[in-house]
Structure formats: structure tokens, C-alpha cells
Symmetry: C2
Subunit: 348 residues, 2 copies
């Protein structure tokens, strides 16, 4: 494989010295880019995930167009439950829908045991192809959802406001919930291992719904399984990033669960978290994604506040506090990326 | 007016000794009660708000049926923008909709200056009637939305996922946002003053969307105006409760803004917050509302964890960490209330 020309992101993940702060943004291969929408118009979302050429194309777009310091493979966290036998449909206006939600033992028993390296071979092919096409320009990130977040979608049958089905399961049938979560953790570890084998330079675990749990339930039903994934993922020196949205109460615990990097949402003061976490992990984040609606001057002002809050030294990967929104003008993201690339050297 | 027979709630708000922990729950006058749904079937939501007899009836239902220690007047935070000229529609499946959102100076200029004691006289009549009908059984709470939360609904035109319109306003036209927020704070202070004049024994400010702001934006665009409401509300010894969801970063600041009681969502450890806030404020909360889906044994177990976390002594008002969900069986809430009423005396 081609030697990496820009390994700032990986060095920052490992808290090694860098000459400036690296930047990438969640959902950077996404709808805010006209070039993405052009591909999407020709093909539905899941077909894009399952066609390595298309996945590679949109994965690389933000590297070419915006100049980010890392690529993240275009895919979806729900390909795992789909491969396990759930019928997944992506409805543009509504988000993902599972037509056969898992809410009891009989539907859980129907979940297939899978081998991600073969059953999700299309993902590994997309990773391998993207690595080749990136040709060492920037590192490639692989990802999966946390077992808790997957179970939430699987039980609710899609997005949710009140999370009533999955909460009923953990309160009334905790053994059932644990057995599914455990199975998902095993599959996810094998999945991330296969992605690393295929060429991913780092992996991120997205725990989008961790913040809907109380502190004690987060630890029992989400963090425990994130920890299991990290422990069982085969890797040499590929960093693991854990992004758990809304879990202000457990960032120190995440730092102890084996994560190299903790992703922060925009409600956290990144400097305060740095003082709490210390040398245990690097931090990724955490500009409010809606700041990208502002003027370029304002974007730079707010980005500088994040750099100032983190302060001097290594271990910071600049990112948004959540995914980039689909109606953000791409030139606003470009203004952010250019600012970080030119101004962050004074923090190093 | 009839002397209060049960003033546990008010004494706990003032951090005075009580023989047990008082309990009420947010949205207790709501759809989970068949008796509420029977009234609602005869009348639309806004008509219920605007008809003092109906508002009083559903306000008192949970006092009669569940045995809570406080009543909260049935109403909606959006009656203020409606009285200021916005066209409000409550759509059962969708939530509130404003057909003429406020997104620029010209639409903001159209907002009428109102006198809540006359323009929202129906609310004051409902408060006065409910007080009479309660006949001193329990205290009555009045409420309003925070200016930030009202502005969010007004700019988005209803509920929102990404809050793009209101965020664009604060980032790109902050002076416009501040002028509307300031106006809303003045109206809200007059509104709470009139409710107290009409008989409310305490008031709560609901800042449902405070948690969508970063820490610095929360202080500039939400907390500042909550503080202004509290400073300008005419009261003798009626406590003010501030419930700002998702603002884990600013609970200490809320304690300094004049609030007597801080409402906590279920992501907080109430004992940790007590140690941080100290004697500055009482705390209200904070059981995960979805725990009410569990068995009665489990509800009691989880409720005891909240009591244990708060620990011994005064200043705790038991509540959920958010509103009760519409599909909770009323007998589950009854089990919670009974448990707190019989078991919390050992914490006092």
C-alpha cells in the first residue's frame, strides 16, 4: 500500500506531536455536496453502500473538494442488522425503517449469525478500493454503530422520539437486551477487524443514542459493549475513536474503556474535558454543526474558540460536534477547513 | 383563599424541613390518563386551554386520581406567541405548528405588544378557578416557556430536528434574536406575575430546547433571559423552578440566576448536582420517564436509587426527568407516587 503522505490525523489520535491540528467532519461524504447528490440521484442509498465504486467515489469527494485530513468510508451503521436478516429501507424524508423490528425473544432468535468478512464483503471491497484510490493522500476511517445504538434502531423499527420499545426491553427483559447487545458486540468487533484487515487506518464507534440513557443505564447497556468491541477488535496500531452523543456524565469512563480518542458533542467545553481526561485519550470535536450556517468570519471566530479552549499541544482532532447538516453551503465547510489548516499551527 | 392542607412541595422548594419528599410529575395532566382523553375527545387542545372549566378539570385530575403533591395548571407555553399574533395550530400527530414563523425583522415587527393579564385573561381565570376548586388540597404551579424555547418554536414554525432557522438567526442576526428574546422575557415576567396574582403558589420556567445550544450560547441566548424573567416577576414568597433540559454544563449558573429550584433531566446524577449546587437551590427530578414502562417492583427500585442519590435531608422534589409519556399506564405512576409517599420519610 502507498505510504501515507498526510498522517496528521493518525498522529493526533495517538497524541504524538503534529505541526497543526488535523480536521475532518462527520457525514463529510454527504448531501451538502452537490457532487454527492449527483451520484445519489443515479442510485439509492443502500445501492451506493453496496457498490464499492460508488462508495469509494463519494468517500473521496471531500478529500478532493474540501481538503479534509481523513476520509471516512461511505456506509451506514445499519448494514450489520440488515446482514443479520432485518429488512432495511431508507426513506429520504423519514430516515431508516426496519419493517420487522426486534422486540421479543422470537424475533431476536431470527437474527442470523454472520461473518462480516464474507456477509459484508461489499464493505471490505469498498474499503480496499478506496484505499487504493486514495493512494496514500490521507488515512481512511472505518466505522460501526455501538450495540446500544443498533439495538435502538432494531427495536424501535427506525428513528424514535421516546425510545419506548427499547426502553421497555431493557427494563422488562434485560436478559434479552443483553443477549442481543452481546451478539452485536461480537459481530461489530469482527466487522471492525475485517475493515482494518481491508485497509482502514482507524475506526470510529458511533453511539448516537447513548445520551438517551441515564448514567447507570449507559454503563450497563452501552459502554460495556463498546468496551467489548474494542477489546476484541484485531488491530496493530489503528486508533479507536468512540463518539457517544450526550454522555457528558461518562467521558472519563470512555477514556478508560480502551478508546484512543473520545468524540465530543458541542455541549461540552473541550478544554474542561481535556483537563478531566488528561493523557488518557485524544479528543475529537466539537464545533456546533449549525455554526456552519454562519458567515465565514463568524465560523472562523467560533472555530478559534474551540482551538483556544483545547489549548496548546497535541491530541486534538478538529471536527463538528455532530454530522454536517445537509443544507450547509460547501464553501462554509471549506472556510472552516482552510482556517484550521492555516491557523492551528500556532497551537502546536 | 383556603389555607393549604399539604404544603410539602412549597416547603421543599424553599429547602425547609419536610416529613417526606413531595412528588408531582411534568405533563401529569395529560394523555396517559383516560379521564383526560375523555375531556380531550370533546374538545381540541387549544379550546381546553382557553376554557377555564376544562383547564381546571384536567389540572385537578392527577390530584384526585394519582395523589400528587402539587397541581400544575393545564396550558401550553405557546399561548404567549399566539397572543402576540402568531397563528398556532396543534396537530395531534405532529405537535404545534406556527403557520407564520418569525425569521426576519419584518415578521418580528409584526409581533404585538401584549398585556398578559388582559390578553391572556383566560389563563388567569383558569388559575383562579382551579385554586378555588382545589380548595387548599395542594399548591398550584403556574408556568411559562423560556424565551429561547419560545423563539425556537417561533422561528422553526414548530418542532425541529436541526434548529436551522433559529440557529441561523442567532449566528447571523444576533441583534434581531436578542430583541425578540428581550420582548419575550418582558411578556413572560408579566405573565408569571399575573398568574401569581391569580393564585399560583409557585412558577416553573420550561427551557425545553436550552440543551441544543453550546455552553456559551446557552448563557447568551437562554439563561440571560430566564434571569430577566425571574428578576422582573412580581412575587412574595412563591418559588421559581427552572427546568432546562440537557444543560449539564450550566446547573451551577442556573443556581445563581435567582431560581429557587433547578429541574434536572435524567442524565444527571442528582446527588452529584446537589454537591455542586449546595445550599443555593432545591432540586427537582429526575427519574427517567421511560422507567414508568417497567414493572412496579422495578419502578420502586429505580425510584429508590434517585432518593438514595439525593440522600438525606430537605430540598428534593421528586419528579421525572421529563414529561410523562402518553402510553404509560396510570397505575404505574400511582405505584411511583405511593412509593415516594410511604418510603421517603426515612430520608427526612
Amino acid at each position: 500500500m502507498a505510504k501515507l503522505q498526510n498522517d496528521l490525523f493518525l498522529r493526533a489520535c495517538r497524541r504524538e506531536e503534529t505541526e497543526r491540528t488535523p480536521i475532518w467532519v462527520m457525514r463529510q461524504a454527504g448531501r451538502y455536496l452537490p457532487e454527492y447528490r449527483a451520484v445519489r440521484e443515479q442510485s439509492d442509498f443502500l445501492t451506493m453502500c453496496k457498490t464499492p465504486e460508488l462508495a469509494a467515489e463519494v468517500t473521496i469527494q471531500p478529500v478532493d473538494l474540501i481538503g479534509v485530513d481523513a476520509a471516512i468510508i461511505f456506509s451506514d451503521i445499519l448494514v450489520i442488522p440488515e446482514a443479520m436478516g432485518m429488512e432495511l429501507e431508507m426513506i429520504e424524508s423519514k430516515g431508516p425503517v426496519f419493517h420487522n423490528p426486534v422486540r421479543d425473544k422470537s424475533s431476536a432468535d431470527k437474527l442470523k449469525t454472520i461473518d462480516p468478512s464474507t456477509d459484508l464483503k461489499y464493505v471490505m471491497d469498498a474499503v480496499a478500493l478506496t484505499k487504493r484510490e486514495l493512494n496514500g493522500r490521507v488515512p481512511l476511517i472505518g466505522f460501526c454503530g455501538s450495540p446500544w445504538t443498533l439495538l435502538t434502531y432494531m427495536a424501535e423499527g427506525g428513528g424514535s422520539k421516546n425510545f419506548s420499545h427499547v426502553k421497555k426491553m431493557i427494563f422488562n427483559e434485560p436478559e434479552l437486551a443483553h443477549s442481543i447487545l452481546d451478539k452485536l458486540a461480537d459481530v461489530s468487533a469482527a466487522y471492525l477487524s475485517a475493515k482494518i484487515e481491508a485497509g482502514a487506518d482507524a475506526v470510529q464507534i458511533f453511539d448516537t443514542w447513548g445520551g438517551n440513557l441515564s448514567q447507570r443505564d449507559f454503563r450497563e447497556f452501552s459502554l460495556r459493549y463498546i468496551e467489548k468491541i474494542i477489546a476484541n477488535t484485531k488491530r496493530t496500531n489503528q486508533p479507536v475513536i468512540v463518539f457517544s452523543k450526550g454522555v457528558h456524565h461518562s467521558l472519563g469512563s470512555i477514556a478508560n474503556c480502551g478508546a484512543d480518542v473520545i468524540g465530543l458533542d458541542w455541549t461540552m467545553d473541550i478544554g474542561e474535558v481535556r483537563r478531566e481526561v488528561g493523557s488518557r485519550a485524544a479528543l475529537q470535536g466539537n464545533l456546533d454543526p449549525t455554526v456552519l450556517y454562519a458567515s465565514h468570519d463568524n465560523i472562523r471566530l467560533r472555530a478559534r474558540e474551540v482551538l483556544d479552549s483545547y489549548g496548546h499541544g497535541t491530541g486534538h482532532i478538529f471536527n463538528l460536534g455532530h454530522g454536517i447538516l445537509p443544507d450547509v453551503p460547501p464553501e462554509n465547510l471549506k472556510a472552516l477547513v482552510d482556517f484550521i489548516k492555516t491557523e492551528s499551527n500556532s497551537y502546536h
